[in-house]
Protein backbone atom coordinates (compact mmCIF):
# COMPACT_ATOMS: atom_id res chain seq x y z
CA UNK A 1 0.00 0.00 0.00
CA UNK A 2 1.34 3.35 -0.93
CA UNK A 3 2.19 5.90 1.70
CA UNK A 4 -0.64 8.07 0.36
CA UNK A 5 -3.34 5.54 1.23
CA UNK A 6 -1.68 4.87 4.55
CA UNK A 7 -2.12 8.56 5.36
CA UNK A 8 -5.65 8.67 4.02
CA UNK A 9 -6.76 5.75 6.17
CA UNK A 10 -4.99 7.23 9.17
CA UNK A 11 -7.07 10.36 8.65
CA UNK A 12 -10.21 8.25 8.19
CA UNK A 13 -9.50 6.57 11.50
CA UNK A 14 -9.15 9.91 13.30
CA UNK A 15 -12.29 11.20 11.62
CA UNK A 16 -14.43 8.36 12.96
CA UNK A 17 -12.69 8.15 16.31
CA UNK A 18 -13.22 11.83 16.98
CA UNK A 19 -16.78 11.52 15.73
CA UNK A 20 -17.33 9.01 18.55
CA UNK A 21 -15.57 11.27 21.05
CA UNK A 22 -17.60 14.26 19.86
CA UNK A 23 -20.88 12.34 20.26
CA UNK A 24 -19.92 11.53 23.84
CA UNK A 25 -19.10 15.11 24.76
CA UNK A 26 -22.13 16.37 22.88
CA UNK A 27 -24.61 14.32 24.89
CA UNK A 28 -23.05 15.78 28.04
CA UNK A 29 -22.50 19.37 26.98
CA UNK A 30 -24.62 19.87 23.86
CA UNK A 31 -27.69 18.01 25.07
CA UNK A 32 -27.53 18.17 28.87
CA UNK A 33 -25.46 21.30 29.43
CA UNK A 34 -22.74 19.69 31.55
CA UNK A 35 -19.47 21.52 30.93
CA UNK A 36 -17.30 18.43 31.26
CA UNK A 37 -13.80 19.90 31.20
CA UNK A 38 -12.44 16.56 32.37
CA UNK A 39 -13.61 14.78 29.24
CA UNK A 40 -10.15 13.74 28.09
CA UNK A 41 -9.62 11.98 31.43
CA UNK A 42 -12.48 9.60 30.56
CA UNK A 43 -10.97 9.06 27.12
CA UNK A 44 -7.65 8.25 28.74
CA UNK A 45 -9.13 5.80 31.22
CA UNK A 46 -10.88 4.00 28.36
CA UNK A 47 -7.60 3.85 26.48
CA UNK A 48 -5.60 2.57 29.45
CA UNK A 49 -8.15 -0.06 30.45
CA UNK A 50 -8.55 -1.26 26.87
CA UNK A 51 -4.78 -1.47 26.49
CA UNK A 52 -3.93 -2.93 29.87
CA UNK A 53 -6.69 -5.55 29.67
CA UNK A 54 -5.55 -6.75 26.25
CA UNK A 55 -1.85 -6.87 27.15
CA UNK A 56 -0.48 -10.05 28.72
CA UNK A 57 0.41 -10.10 32.43
CA UNK A 58 2.92 -7.34 33.00
CA UNK A 59 5.75 -9.54 34.36
CA UNK A 60 8.45 -9.76 31.72
CA UNK A 61 7.02 -7.10 29.37
CA UNK A 62 9.24 -4.37 30.78
CA UNK A 63 6.12 -2.40 31.70
CA UNK A 64 4.09 -2.13 34.87
CA UNK A 65 0.32 -2.06 34.70
CA UNK A 66 -2.77 -3.47 36.34
CA UNK A 67 -4.94 -6.16 34.75
CA UNK A 68 -2.89 -7.78 31.95
CA UNK A 69 -5.58 -10.30 31.12
CA UNK A 70 -4.94 -10.68 27.43
CA UNK A 71 -8.59 -9.95 26.65
CA UNK A 72 -9.48 -10.21 22.96
CA UNK A 73 -11.11 -7.47 20.90
CA UNK A 74 -13.87 -6.27 21.34
CA UNK A 75 -14.14 -7.34 25.00
CA UNK A 76 -11.19 -5.14 25.96
CA UNK A 77 -12.80 -2.20 24.18
CA UNK A 78 -16.13 -2.69 25.94
CA UNK A 79 -14.32 -2.92 29.25
CA UNK A 80 -12.65 0.41 28.46
CA UNK A 81 -16.06 1.98 27.81
CA UNK A 82 -17.52 0.54 31.00
CA UNK A 83 -14.52 1.70 33.06
CA UNK A 84 -14.96 5.26 31.79
CA UNK A 85 -18.68 5.08 32.66
CA UNK A 86 -17.89 3.89 36.18
CA UNK A 87 -15.48 6.78 36.59
CA UNK A 88 -18.31 9.08 35.47
CA UNK A 89 -20.58 7.71 38.19
CA UNK A 90 -17.86 8.29 40.76
CA UNK A 91 -17.18 11.84 39.57
CA UNK A 92 -20.89 12.64 39.36
CA UNK A 93 -21.54 11.39 42.87
CA UNK A 94 -18.83 13.51 44.41
CA UNK A 95 -19.07 16.61 42.22
CA UNK A 96 -22.48 16.91 40.59
CA UNK A 97 -24.89 16.54 43.44
CA UNK A 98 -24.33 20.03 44.72
CA UNK A 99 -22.45 21.90 42.02
CA UNK A 100 -23.88 23.46 38.90
CA UNK A 101 -22.56 24.82 35.61
CA UNK A 102 -19.41 26.89 36.04
CA UNK A 103 -18.57 25.64 39.52
CA UNK A 104 -18.90 22.09 38.30
CA UNK A 105 -16.69 22.93 35.32
CA UNK A 106 -13.92 24.19 37.60
CA UNK A 107 -14.12 21.08 39.76
CA UNK A 108 -13.98 18.90 36.65
CA UNK A 109 -10.86 20.68 35.37
CA UNK A 110 -9.16 20.09 38.70
CA UNK A 111 -10.31 16.49 38.60
CA UNK A 112 -8.73 16.13 35.17
CA UNK A 113 -5.43 17.49 36.55
CA UNK A 114 -5.49 15.20 39.60
CA UNK A 115 -6.19 12.15 37.46
CA UNK A 116 -3.41 13.19 35.11
CA UNK A 117 -0.88 13.61 37.94
CA UNK A 118 -1.73 10.27 39.52
CA UNK A 119 -1.45 8.39 36.23
CA UNK A 120 1.73 10.18 35.28
CA UNK A 121 3.48 9.50 38.58
CA UNK A 122 2.07 6.28 39.97
CA UNK A 123 3.90 3.76 37.80
CA UNK A 124 2.21 0.48 38.93
CA UNK A 125 -1.13 1.73 37.57
CA UNK A 126 -0.48 2.33 33.86
CA UNK A 127 3.32 2.48 33.68
CA UNK A 128 3.53 6.17 34.65
CA UNK A 129 4.85 8.69 32.14
CA UNK A 130 6.17 5.96 29.84
CA UNK A 131 2.64 4.72 29.30
CA UNK A 132 1.57 1.50 27.65
CA UNK A 133 3.19 0.21 24.46
CA UNK A 134 3.10 -2.93 22.33
CA UNK A 135 -0.67 -3.03 22.77
CA UNK A 136 -1.80 -5.93 20.52
CA UNK A 137 -3.33 -4.99 17.18
CA UNK A 138 -6.89 -6.30 17.37
CA UNK A 139 -7.86 -9.14 15.05
CA UNK A 140 -4.46 -8.92 13.32
CA UNK A 141 -3.81 -12.61 13.97
CA UNK A 142 -7.18 -13.77 12.62
CA UNK A 143 -7.01 -11.74 9.40
CA UNK A 144 -3.22 -12.13 9.04
CA UNK A 145 -2.75 -8.37 8.88
CA UNK A 146 0.61 -6.72 8.39
CA UNK A 147 1.55 -3.36 9.88
CA UNK A 148 0.49 -1.76 6.60
CA UNK A 149 -2.80 -3.53 6.07
CA UNK A 150 -3.78 -3.04 9.70
CA UNK A 151 -4.29 0.70 9.23
CA UNK A 152 -7.04 0.56 6.56
CA UNK A 153 -8.56 -2.47 8.27
CA UNK A 154 -8.83 -0.77 11.63
CA UNK A 155 -9.99 2.50 10.07
CA UNK A 156 -12.92 0.60 8.57
CA UNK A 157 -13.62 -1.25 11.84
CA UNK A 158 -13.67 2.12 13.60
CA UNK A 159 -16.02 3.44 10.93
CA UNK A 160 -18.41 0.54 11.55
CA UNK A 161 -18.28 1.04 15.30
CA UNK A 162 -18.92 4.75 14.80
CA UNK A 163 -21.94 3.90 12.65
CA UNK A 164 -23.44 1.66 15.33
CA UNK A 165 -22.77 4.28 17.99
CA UNK A 166 -24.31 6.96 15.79
CA UNK A 167 -27.44 4.84 15.45
CA UNK A 168 -27.62 4.31 19.20
CA UNK A 169 -27.01 8.00 19.91
CA UNK A 170 -29.74 9.03 17.47
CA UNK A 171 -32.15 6.76 19.28
CA UNK A 172 -31.26 8.45 22.55
CA UNK A 173 -31.35 12.05 21.34
CA UNK A 174 -34.69 11.55 19.56
CA UNK A 175 -36.28 9.87 22.58
CA UNK A 176 -38.08 11.51 25.49
CA UNK A 177 -34.83 10.97 27.42
CA UNK A 178 -32.98 13.21 24.95
CA UNK A 179 -35.72 15.79 25.25
CA UNK A 180 -35.48 15.77 29.03
CA UNK A 181 -31.70 16.22 28.71
CA UNK A 182 -32.29 19.30 26.56
CA UNK A 183 -34.88 20.60 29.01
CA UNK A 184 -32.25 20.37 31.75
CA UNK A 185 -29.74 22.10 29.50
CA UNK A 186 -32.15 24.99 28.88
CA UNK A 187 -33.29 25.43 32.49
CA UNK A 188 -32.73 22.80 35.12
CA UNK A 189 -34.94 24.66 37.59
CA UNK A 190 -37.89 24.33 35.24
CA UNK A 191 -37.09 20.69 34.57
CA UNK A 192 -37.10 20.05 38.32
CA UNK A 193 -40.36 21.96 38.70
CA UNK A 194 -41.80 19.57 36.12
CA UNK A 195 -40.84 16.61 38.29
CA UNK A 196 -37.58 15.64 36.62
CA UNK A 197 -34.91 14.39 39.00
CA UNK A 198 -32.16 16.50 37.46
CA UNK A 199 -29.25 14.71 39.10
CA UNK A 200 -30.42 11.31 37.90
CA UNK A 201 -30.59 12.54 34.32
CA UNK A 202 -27.24 14.28 34.53
CA UNK A 203 -25.79 11.05 35.84
CA UNK A 204 -27.33 9.12 32.94
CA UNK A 205 -25.95 11.63 30.48
CA UNK A 206 -22.48 11.43 32.05
CA UNK A 207 -22.68 7.66 31.91
CA UNK A 208 -23.58 7.55 28.21
CA UNK A 209 -21.09 10.23 27.19
CA UNK A 210 -18.26 8.68 29.17
CA UNK A 211 -18.93 5.29 27.60
CA UNK A 212 -18.40 6.95 24.22
CA UNK A 213 -15.24 8.60 25.57
CA UNK A 214 -13.94 5.25 26.77
CA UNK A 215 -14.65 3.54 23.46
CA UNK A 216 -13.02 6.39 21.52
CA UNK A 217 -9.97 6.14 23.79
CA UNK A 218 -9.86 2.37 23.48
CA UNK A 219 -9.83 2.62 19.69
CA UNK A 220 -7.03 5.20 19.88
CA UNK A 221 -4.73 2.96 21.92
CA UNK A 222 -5.34 -0.01 19.66
CA UNK A 223 -4.76 1.98 16.52
CA UNK A 224 -1.48 3.44 17.69
CA UNK A 225 -0.38 0.50 19.84
CA UNK A 226 0.81 2.83 22.56
CA UNK A 227 -0.59 5.45 24.89
CA UNK A 228 1.04 7.71 27.45
CA UNK A 229 0.23 10.83 29.39
CA UNK A 230 1.38 13.23 26.66
CA UNK A 231 -1.50 11.92 24.52
CA UNK A 232 -4.07 13.31 26.89
CA UNK A 233 -2.85 16.49 28.46
CA UNK A 234 -5.92 18.10 30.06
CA UNK A 235 -5.95 20.74 27.32
CA UNK A 236 -6.88 18.01 24.82
CA UNK A 237 -10.42 18.28 26.14
CA UNK A 238 -10.70 21.58 24.31
CA UNK A 239 -9.92 19.92 20.98
CA UNK A 240 -13.08 17.84 21.43
CA UNK A 241 -14.95 20.98 22.44
CA UNK A 242 -13.64 22.63 19.26
CA UNK A 243 -14.95 19.69 17.22
CA UNK A 244 -18.49 20.03 18.56
CA UNK A 245 -18.57 23.83 18.59
CA UNK A 246 -17.30 24.12 15.01
CA UNK A 247 -19.46 21.28 13.74
CA UNK A 248 -22.64 22.20 15.57
CA UNK A 249 -23.61 21.54 19.15
CA UNK A 250 -26.63 19.28 19.47
CA UNK A 251 -26.50 17.90 15.92
CA UNK A 252 -24.97 14.48 15.23
CA UNK A 253 -24.26 15.27 11.58
CA UNK A 254 -22.59 18.47 12.68
CA UNK A 255 -20.30 16.44 14.92
CA UNK A 256 -19.07 14.43 11.96
CA UNK A 257 -18.45 17.67 10.07
CA UNK A 258 -16.62 19.07 13.10
CA UNK A 259 -14.49 15.94 13.37
CA UNK A 260 -13.62 16.31 9.69
CA UNK A 261 -12.80 20.02 9.83
CA UNK A 262 -11.00 20.26 13.17
CA UNK A 263 -9.51 16.88 13.99
CA UNK A 264 -8.86 15.52 10.51
CA UNK A 265 -8.05 18.52 8.34
CA UNK A 266 -6.63 20.97 10.89
CA UNK A 267 -4.89 18.76 13.43
CA UNK A 268 -3.84 15.55 11.70
CA UNK A 269 -3.46 16.52 8.06
CA UNK A 270 -0.75 19.15 8.74
CA UNK A 271 1.21 16.49 10.67
CA UNK A 272 1.90 14.87 7.32
CA UNK A 273 3.18 18.09 5.76
CA UNK A 274 6.94 18.49 5.40
CA UNK A 275 8.59 20.68 8.02
CA UNK A 276 9.26 24.30 7.21
CA UNK A 277 13.04 24.38 6.63
CA UNK A 278 14.88 25.62 9.70
CA UNK A 279 11.75 25.54 11.85
CA UNK A 280 11.02 21.98 12.88
CA UNK A 281 7.74 21.65 14.77
CA UNK A 282 6.58 25.09 13.74
CA UNK A 283 3.62 23.69 11.80
CA UNK A 284 2.35 22.03 14.96
CA UNK A 285 2.39 25.31 16.82
CA UNK A 286 0.72 27.18 13.98
CA UNK A 287 -1.85 24.41 13.98
CA UNK A 288 -2.74 25.03 17.62
CA UNK A 289 -3.13 28.73 16.92
CA UNK A 290 -5.35 28.04 13.91
CA UNK A 291 -7.65 25.81 15.97
CA UNK A 292 -7.84 28.49 18.68
CA UNK A 293 -8.63 31.24 16.20
CA UNK A 294 -11.19 29.06 14.42
CA UNK A 295 -12.93 28.41 17.73
CA UNK A 296 -12.98 32.12 18.46
CA UNK A 297 -14.28 33.01 15.01
CA UNK A 298 -17.01 30.37 15.19
CA UNK A 299 -18.19 31.44 18.64
CA UNK A 300 -18.25 35.05 17.48
CA UNK A 301 -19.87 34.70 14.09
CA UNK A 302 -21.62 31.35 14.01
CA UNK A 303 -22.10 30.00 17.53
CA UNK A 304 -24.60 27.42 16.28
CA UNK A 305 -21.82 25.70 14.29
CA UNK A 306 -21.56 24.67 10.65
CA UNK A 307 -24.59 22.38 10.97
CA UNK A 308 -26.91 23.89 13.61
CA UNK A 309 -29.15 21.93 15.93
CA UNK A 310 -32.30 21.18 13.99
CA UNK A 311 -35.85 21.84 15.05
CA UNK A 312 -37.70 18.64 15.85
CA UNK A 313 -41.00 19.09 14.09
CA UNK A 314 -44.30 17.46 14.96
CA UNK A 315 -44.66 14.16 13.07
CA UNK A 316 -46.77 14.92 10.01
CA UNK A 317 -48.82 11.73 10.27
CA UNK A 318 -50.04 12.82 13.68
CA UNK A 319 -51.19 16.19 12.46
CA UNK A 320 -53.13 14.74 9.56
CA UNK A 321 -55.02 12.50 11.94
CA UNK A 322 -55.99 15.42 14.11
CA UNK A 323 -56.67 18.21 11.68
CA UNK A 324 -60.27 17.24 11.06
CA UNK A 325 -61.53 18.34 14.46
CA UNK A 326 -59.62 21.55 14.41
CA UNK A 327 -62.65 23.82 14.49
CA UNK A 328 -64.11 22.37 17.69
CA UNK A 329 -61.65 24.04 19.97
CA UNK A 330 -61.27 27.38 18.30
CA UNK A 331 -63.45 29.00 20.92
CA UNK A 332 -61.35 30.53 23.60
CA UNK A 333 -62.76 30.81 27.10
CA UNK A 334 -62.81 34.19 28.72
CA UNK A 335 -63.75 35.41 32.15
CA UNK A 336 -65.42 38.58 30.87
CA UNK A 337 -63.94 41.17 33.13
CA UNK A 338 -65.07 44.18 31.18
CA UNK A 339 -68.76 43.87 31.97
CA UNK A 340 -68.25 43.40 35.67
CA UNK A 341 -67.78 45.94 38.41
CA UNK A 342 -64.17 46.22 37.44
CA UNK A 343 -61.79 48.98 38.25
CA UNK A 344 -60.42 49.60 34.81
CA UNK A 345 -58.99 47.62 31.95
CA UNK A 346 -55.53 47.71 33.31
CA UNK A 347 -56.67 46.16 36.53
CA UNK A 348 -56.14 47.18 40.09
CA UNK A 349 -52.89 47.96 41.76
CA UNK A 350 -50.07 47.56 39.34
CA UNK A 351 -46.53 48.34 40.29
Amino acid sequence: MSAFWFYVFTLVFFLFDYFILAMGLNIQYGETGILNFAYIGFVALGAYVTGASSLPASAGTGQQYIMGWGLPFPLNLLLGGVAASLLAVFVALIAMRRLRTDYLAVVLISFSLVFYDITNNYVPLFNGADGLYNVPEPLAGIFKLTTNSFVPFFAIVTGLIALIMWWAMSRITKSPLGRTFRAIRDDEGVAAALGKGVFRYQLTSMLIGSFYAGIGGGLLVQFGGSFNTTSWLPAETFVVFAVIIVGGVGNNVGLLVGALLVETLLIHLPAFLPDIPGHPGLIEYIDTIVVGVLLWVMLWFRPQGVVPERIRKTPLALLQGLKSDRSTNEEVPAMSISDGAGVNEEGGVRD
Binding site: A168, P176, T180, D187, G195, I311, L322, N344
Partner: protein, 274 residues
Protein backbone atom coordinates in the same frame (compact mmCIF):
# COMPACT_ATOMS: atom_id res chain seq x y z
CA UNK B 1 -69.02 36.55 36.97
CA UNK B 2 -70.22 35.01 40.18
CA UNK B 3 -67.47 32.90 41.62
CA UNK B 4 -66.37 35.83 43.73
CA UNK B 5 -69.65 35.56 45.54
CA UNK B 6 -69.45 31.81 45.96
CA UNK B 7 -69.72 30.22 49.33
CA UNK B 8 -66.94 31.33 51.58
CA UNK B 9 -63.90 29.19 51.14
CA UNK B 10 -63.41 26.61 53.78
CA UNK B 11 -60.08 27.47 55.29
CA UNK B 12 -60.03 24.64 57.78
CA UNK B 13 -57.01 22.39 57.87
CA UNK B 14 -56.77 18.71 56.96
CA UNK B 15 -58.27 17.11 53.89
CA UNK B 16 -60.15 20.24 52.86
CA UNK B 17 -56.83 21.90 52.08
CA UNK B 18 -54.93 20.94 48.99
CA UNK B 19 -51.93 22.80 50.29
CA UNK B 20 -51.11 24.34 53.62
CA UNK B 21 -48.18 25.88 55.41
CA UNK B 22 -47.45 26.95 58.95
CA UNK B 23 -45.06 29.62 60.16
CA UNK B 24 -42.84 29.54 57.08
CA UNK B 25 -39.79 31.71 57.63
CA UNK B 26 -37.00 32.64 55.28
CA UNK B 27 -34.30 35.27 55.35
CA UNK B 28 -31.59 36.13 52.87
CA UNK B 29 -28.29 37.06 54.48
CA UNK B 30 -30.02 38.55 57.47
CA UNK B 31 -32.81 40.23 55.53
CA UNK B 32 -36.10 38.63 56.50
CA UNK B 33 -38.21 37.98 53.42
CA UNK B 34 -40.82 35.75 54.99
CA UNK B 35 -41.44 36.05 58.71
CA UNK B 36 -44.34 33.72 59.32
CA UNK B 37 -46.56 32.66 56.45
CA UNK B 38 -49.42 30.47 57.62
CA UNK B 39 -52.35 29.61 55.41
CA UNK B 40 -54.43 26.86 53.86
CA UNK B 41 -55.28 26.66 50.20
CA UNK B 42 -58.75 25.14 49.93
CA UNK B 43 -59.11 22.22 47.56
CA UNK B 44 -60.73 22.77 44.21
CA UNK B 45 -60.81 26.54 44.52
CA UNK B 46 -58.93 29.50 43.16
CA UNK B 47 -57.02 31.31 45.86
CA UNK B 48 -55.24 34.61 45.39
CA UNK B 49 -52.03 35.47 47.18
CA UNK B 50 -51.86 39.26 47.33
CA UNK B 51 -49.73 41.81 49.08
CA UNK B 52 -47.47 44.76 48.41
CA UNK B 53 -44.19 44.33 46.59
CA UNK B 54 -41.58 42.85 48.85
CA UNK B 55 -44.22 41.11 50.95
CA UNK B 56 -42.58 37.78 50.19
CA UNK B 57 -45.15 36.35 47.80
CA UNK B 58 -42.70 34.94 45.27
CA UNK B 59 -40.47 33.64 48.05
CA UNK B 60 -43.46 31.79 49.48
CA UNK B 61 -44.26 30.36 46.05
CA UNK B 62 -40.62 29.31 45.66
CA UNK B 63 -40.70 27.59 49.04
CA UNK B 64 -44.03 25.89 48.39
CA UNK B 65 -42.76 24.55 45.08
CA UNK B 66 -39.51 23.32 46.64
CA UNK B 67 -37.25 25.62 44.65
CA UNK B 68 -36.11 27.22 47.89
CA UNK B 69 -35.69 25.79 51.35
CA UNK B 70 -37.40 27.54 54.24
CA UNK B 71 -35.45 28.34 57.41
CA UNK B 72 -38.29 26.99 59.53
CA UNK B 73 -41.94 26.12 59.35
CA UNK B 74 -43.83 23.24 57.78
CA UNK B 75 -45.92 22.59 54.70
CA UNK B 76 -48.22 19.86 53.46
CA UNK B 77 -49.72 18.85 50.16
CA UNK B 78 -52.99 17.19 51.10
CA UNK B 79 -52.06 15.00 54.05
CA UNK B 80 -48.41 14.56 53.04
CA UNK B 81 -45.79 16.57 54.88
CA UNK B 82 -43.47 17.98 52.21
CA UNK B 83 -41.45 20.41 54.30
CA UNK B 84 -38.24 21.21 52.41
CA UNK B 85 -38.70 18.44 49.88
CA UNK B 86 -36.84 18.83 46.63
CA UNK B 87 -38.86 20.47 43.90
CA UNK B 88 -39.01 17.46 41.59
CA UNK B 89 -40.50 15.35 44.37
CA UNK B 90 -43.08 18.02 45.11
CA UNK B 91 -43.90 18.20 41.41
CA UNK B 92 -44.40 14.45 41.31
CA UNK B 93 -46.97 14.80 44.08
CA UNK B 94 -48.95 16.93 41.66
CA UNK B 95 -47.93 20.49 42.47
CA UNK B 96 -46.92 22.46 39.37
CA UNK B 97 -45.92 26.07 39.10
CA UNK B 98 -45.32 28.87 36.64
CA UNK B 99 -42.85 31.70 37.03
CA UNK B 100 -43.19 35.45 37.43
CA UNK B 101 -40.75 35.98 34.58
CA UNK B 102 -41.54 33.32 32.01
CA UNK B 103 -39.04 30.49 31.99
CA UNK B 104 -39.69 28.70 28.75
CA UNK B 105 -37.34 25.95 27.60
CA UNK B 106 -36.04 28.16 24.82
CA UNK B 107 -34.16 25.63 22.73
CA UNK B 108 -37.13 23.27 22.59
CA UNK B 109 -40.14 23.74 20.37
CA UNK B 110 -43.48 24.75 21.83
CA UNK B 111 -44.72 21.18 21.46
CA UNK B 112 -41.57 19.78 23.08
CA UNK B 113 -42.05 22.13 26.02
CA UNK B 114 -45.33 20.36 26.68
CA UNK B 115 -43.98 16.90 25.98
CA UNK B 116 -41.35 17.29 28.69
CA UNK B 117 -44.09 17.67 31.28
CA UNK B 118 -45.73 14.23 31.69
CA UNK B 119 -44.35 12.31 34.63
CA UNK B 120 -42.57 8.95 34.43
CA UNK B 121 -42.38 8.60 30.67
CA UNK B 122 -41.26 5.16 29.49
CA UNK B 123 -39.01 6.78 26.87
CA UNK B 124 -37.07 8.59 29.56
CA UNK B 125 -35.42 5.35 30.58
CA UNK B 126 -32.30 4.28 28.71
CA UNK B 127 -33.27 0.63 29.00
CA UNK B 128 -36.73 1.18 27.58
CA UNK B 129 -35.36 3.06 24.58
CA UNK B 130 -33.47 -0.03 23.45
CA UNK B 131 -35.37 -2.90 25.06
CA UNK B 132 -38.98 -1.72 24.96
CA UNK B 133 -39.05 0.75 22.09
CA UNK B 134 -42.69 0.05 21.23
CA UNK B 135 -43.91 0.92 24.70
CA UNK B 136 -41.96 4.16 24.60
CA UNK B 137 -43.22 4.98 21.12
CA UNK B 138 -46.86 4.28 21.95
CA UNK B 139 -46.72 6.44 25.04
CA UNK B 140 -45.00 9.22 23.12
CA UNK B 141 -47.76 9.12 20.52
CA UNK B 142 -50.46 9.45 23.15
CA UNK B 143 -48.61 12.28 24.87
CA UNK B 144 -48.15 14.09 21.57
CA UNK B 145 -51.85 13.85 20.77
CA UNK B 146 -52.75 15.21 24.18
CA UNK B 147 -50.13 17.96 23.93
CA UNK B 148 -51.57 19.07 20.58
CA UNK B 149 -55.02 19.22 22.15
CA UNK B 150 -53.71 21.34 25.00
CA UNK B 151 -51.90 23.61 22.53
CA UNK B 152 -55.12 24.03 20.60
CA UNK B 153 -57.01 24.94 23.76
CA UNK B 154 -54.39 27.53 24.63
CA UNK B 155 -54.25 28.97 21.13
CA UNK B 156 -50.66 27.88 20.55
CA UNK B 157 -51.34 25.10 18.05
CA UNK B 158 -50.01 26.97 15.05
CA UNK B 159 -46.80 27.78 16.92
CA UNK B 160 -46.13 24.14 17.87
CA UNK B 161 -42.94 23.81 15.81
CA UNK B 162 -41.49 27.19 16.75
CA UNK B 163 -38.70 27.38 19.26
CA UNK B 164 -40.16 28.58 22.55
CA UNK B 165 -37.57 31.37 22.69
CA UNK B 166 -39.23 32.92 19.62
CA UNK B 167 -42.59 33.46 21.33
CA UNK B 168 -43.90 36.83 22.48
CA UNK B 169 -44.20 37.64 26.18
CA UNK B 170 -47.91 36.82 26.28
CA UNK B 171 -47.44 33.58 24.36
CA UNK B 172 -44.74 32.54 26.79
CA UNK B 173 -47.17 33.09 29.68
CA UNK B 174 -49.69 30.86 27.93
CA UNK B 175 -47.04 28.26 27.18
CA UNK B 176 -46.05 28.09 30.84
CA UNK B 177 -49.62 27.46 31.92
CA UNK B 178 -50.15 24.95 29.11
CA UNK B 179 -46.97 23.12 30.12
CA UNK B 180 -48.06 22.93 33.74
CA UNK B 181 -51.51 21.71 32.65
CA UNK B 182 -49.88 19.02 30.50
CA UNK B 183 -48.42 17.59 33.72
CA UNK B 184 -51.99 17.11 35.02
CA UNK B 185 -51.50 18.97 38.30
CA UNK B 186 -53.63 18.69 41.40
CA UNK B 187 -52.38 22.04 42.63
CA UNK B 188 -51.22 24.82 40.36
CA UNK B 189 -49.17 27.77 41.61
CA UNK B 190 -49.30 30.70 39.22
CA UNK B 191 -46.84 33.50 39.94
CA UNK B 192 -48.41 36.61 38.41
CA UNK B 193 -49.84 34.86 35.35
CA UNK B 194 -51.27 38.13 34.06
CA UNK B 195 -48.37 40.50 34.68
CA UNK B 196 -47.42 42.40 31.58
CA UNK B 197 -50.07 40.98 29.27
CA UNK B 198 -52.75 42.90 27.40
CA UNK B 199 -56.36 43.15 28.66
CA UNK B 200 -57.74 40.71 26.09
CA UNK B 201 -55.19 38.11 27.07
CA UNK B 202 -55.92 38.73 30.76
CA UNK B 203 -59.49 37.72 30.05
CA UNK B 204 -58.38 34.61 28.21
CA UNK B 205 -55.97 33.54 30.94
CA UNK B 206 -58.71 34.15 33.49
CA UNK B 207 -60.97 31.89 31.44
CA UNK B 208 -58.35 29.16 31.35
CA UNK B 209 -57.94 29.33 35.12
CA UNK B 210 -61.69 29.03 35.64
CA UNK B 211 -61.69 26.03 33.29
CA UNK B 212 -58.97 24.40 35.35
CA UNK B 213 -61.05 24.91 38.47
CA UNK B 214 -63.93 23.15 36.75
CA UNK B 215 -61.61 20.26 36.09
CA UNK B 216 -60.90 20.05 39.81
CA UNK B 217 -57.51 21.72 39.90
CA UNK B 218 -56.68 23.76 42.99
CA UNK B 219 -55.12 27.08 42.01
CA UNK B 220 -53.02 29.45 44.10
CA UNK B 221 -52.14 32.57 42.15
CA UNK B 222 -50.05 35.59 43.01
CA UNK B 223 -51.95 38.48 41.52
CA UNK B 224 -51.86 42.27 41.76
CA UNK B 225 -54.88 42.83 39.56
CA UNK B 226 -57.69 43.10 42.11
CA UNK B 227 -60.22 43.14 39.34
CA UNK B 228 -59.09 39.66 38.36
CA UNK B 229 -59.03 38.58 41.99
CA UNK B 230 -62.57 39.77 42.41
CA UNK B 231 -63.72 37.98 39.28
CA UNK B 232 -62.18 34.58 39.61
CA UNK B 233 -60.77 33.98 43.06
CA UNK B 234 -62.82 32.25 45.75
CA UNK B 235 -60.44 32.97 48.53
CA UNK B 236 -57.72 35.52 49.23
CA UNK B 237 -54.56 35.40 51.34
CA UNK B 238 -52.95 38.73 52.16
CA UNK B 239 -49.26 38.73 52.83
CA UNK B 240 -47.53 41.79 54.23
CA UNK B 241 -43.97 42.15 55.48
CA UNK B 242 -43.46 38.44 55.16
CA UNK B 243 -46.36 37.23 57.23
CA UNK B 244 -49.99 36.33 56.69
CA UNK B 245 -52.01 39.42 57.46
CA UNK B 246 -55.47 38.05 56.76
CA UNK B 247 -57.35 35.44 54.78
CA UNK B 248 -60.88 35.33 53.52
CA UNK B 249 -63.00 36.59 50.68
CA UNK B 250 -62.02 39.84 49.07
CA UNK B 251 -65.24 41.47 50.24
CA UNK B 252 -64.42 40.58 53.83
CA UNK B 253 -60.88 41.82 53.49
CA UNK B 254 -62.09 45.16 52.26
CA UNK B 255 -63.62 45.68 55.67
CA UNK B 256 -60.34 44.87 57.38
CA UNK B 257 -58.56 48.14 58.18
CA UNK B 258 -55.16 46.42 58.44
CA UNK B 259 -55.48 45.05 54.95
CA UNK B 260 -56.73 48.31 53.57
CA UNK B 261 -53.82 50.13 55.10
CA UNK B 262 -51.19 47.62 53.98
CA UNK B 263 -52.33 46.97 50.47
CA UNK B 264 -55.81 47.72 49.31
CA UNK B 265 -55.87 51.37 50.32
CA UNK B 266 -56.16 53.46 47.22
CA UNK B 267 -57.94 50.92 45.12
CA UNK B 268 -60.72 50.53 47.61
CA UNK B 269 -61.07 54.26 47.85
CA UNK B 270 -61.20 54.43 44.08
CA UNK B 271 -63.84 51.76 43.73
CA UNK B 272 -66.02 53.01 46.58
CA UNK B 273 -66.07 56.51 45.16
CA UNK B 274 -67.16 55.27 41.76
Amino acid sequence: MTSGQNEAANTGSGAASALSCQEIKKSFQGVAAVTGATFDVPRGMITALIGPNGAGKTTVVNILSGMMKSDSGAMQIGATDVTNWESYKIARLGLMRTFQLSRELGGLTVLENLLVAPKHQAGESLLNIFLRPRLAKREELENTKRALEVLRTYGLYDLRDNRASELSGGQKKLLEIARAVMAQPQVLLLDEPMAGVNPALIERIGGYILDLKKQGVTVLMVEHNLNVVEKICDHVIVLAEGRTLATGRLSELRANPEVVQAYLGEVINASTTR
